[in-house]
Symmetry: C2
Subunit: 331 residues, 2 copies
Amino acid sequence: MPAAPEPALPGFDDVLDAAARIAAHARVTPVVRSQRLDALAGAELHFKSEHQQRSGAFKFRGACNAVQALDPATAARGVVTHSSGNHGAALALAAKLRGIACHVVVPEGANPAKLEAIRLHGAILHRCAPGIPAREAACAAVQRDTGAALVHPYADAKVIAGQGTAALELFAECGELDLLVVPVGGGGLASGSALSLAARAPRCALLLAEPTDADDTLRSLRDGKRRANARVPATICDGLRGDLGAPDFAMLQAADAEVVAIDDESTLAAIRALWADPRLRVEPSSAIALAAVLALPERVRGRRVGIILSGGNVDPDALPTLLGGSMPRVS
Amino acid sequence: MPAAPEPALPGFDDVLDAAARIAAHARVTPVVRSQRLDALAGAELHFKSEHQQRSGAFKFRGACNAVQALDPATAARGVVTHSSGNHGAALALAAKLRGIACHVVVPEGANPAKLEAIRLHGAILHRCAPGIPAREAACAAVQRDTGAALVHPYADAKVIAGQGTAALELFAECGELDLLVVPVGGGGLASGSALSLAARAPRCALLLAEPTDADDTLRSLRDGKRRANARVPATICDGLRGDLGAPDFAMLQAADAEVVAIDDESTLAAIRALWADPRLRVEPSSAIALAAVLALPERVRGRRVGIILSGGNVDPDALPTLLGGSMPRVS
């Protein structure tokens, strides 16, 4: 992404506005309970099932809020992003629902299956060379040529506010919880969740789950300074490889969020435990949140724990690896 | 199973009674829509998501109805069956919810993961040699020793009536459809669905999907005489290998049901199309219903089609085969 302008940080009112704005388009996803997984964790787990959200991930909430909030003249020029993952598909769908153009810059070599979902929603694909500089340049060129508005995947106040609606729904359904566990990549879901938590469940702790090899959020919050991941992180959590955004960092610092780093082995074990249940077949970047719960048995024992399962889109080629070994039968 | 006594055939009133009886225990499962799959089929598809039912399959409806309908003295002696698949787990859960004993006869060599789900719900496992005669003998022995009531997986009026509640909910949510597609094995779901269809959607056609290698229902309805599968059917649809039950046959004959035989290759293609959506990761015995729709493009074009996705429990060892090849990204 081009270095995003520093947006005004969103507040809880913006989450409420987002909830109203996306209500006609987004799904209120179910909160799933599982006796088997409660027994495994020694805690009462409430799984907010964003893999059942439109486009298969929470990303639709933020993208839809950003698109619906555009004034008509701006909207008429369309929107642009350069995420080829869940945000790209979500923005394409959000733009289609408003009837405006969506441009998605994708690097050569991007997964054809992912591009198919973006194309399905009628977005215009722009190819560029791999690597962040080429992507940013291509994105800037599309903005210049078309006047399209950039919708950044996480460093955007409207996007963050939209992502906060998932936790808003979770607290509305479950009341105050003792602990809310959220995966963190760029930080949109985490910082949006922090807004809803502060307003609706002030005694609930916020725990962020991050891959060991992409632990920039842990280091950023520890050092009080935004840190980057040194290289392309090697983790199966493909949605959590990005660096924490600037507004997201400021908000998570203010929220006193705690971060736990989780290795891929633990995430794989969580995937297998989740996939035994037909309701919980989620992507690695979601399963990491259950892995965090299982890594902290003393912390969670007997507690009421909310877990945001952020999405369900899985690279089909990766499935044999993800699901290798034996899974218990569903309960 | 021991040759079941010929039960009085259930009617639609029995489905309504079942709905009331199981309401406090079973889930009203969601009806899922997918633009991508509508486009693939050229029809408007309504997926009744029984893989999100308790125990991961519609089987809980019938088992729960049968268990809840027992008079207290009979219930106190417990229930017995010898299905090690979805019915076994469903009956174990239904018995646990009523606080009564459940005995499940399982053959040596049964899938340990399947047994784990049955054990999880506190059922008592009884081992026997493989093969139907040994299973029936062991089941009869448990009945003699304990006085437990047999709950047959499909040749049972209460079970059939319970299974009919899935289609009842589907018609309540979607109104009359043009076509209802249901997988058929022993026939409990199919014949229960026929009752709800006749009462709630009399102009809707009933199409049953059956594996080519286990096409006893097709031959039975064609010949007007109950036919058996000649041997252990070789199909990935492990829930559909059984022979059509006697009451099920009579009811499907009366309902003028139509059957289409589907080869495993077509079911595999349907599995891959479904698994691209995190909401639709179902077992082969469910995916066959979508395969039937895709096999009859002229028949379904432009129609409103209900599809009962019967369950989501998958043998983990089979997943690499089931999901081999590439899946499109979710929409």
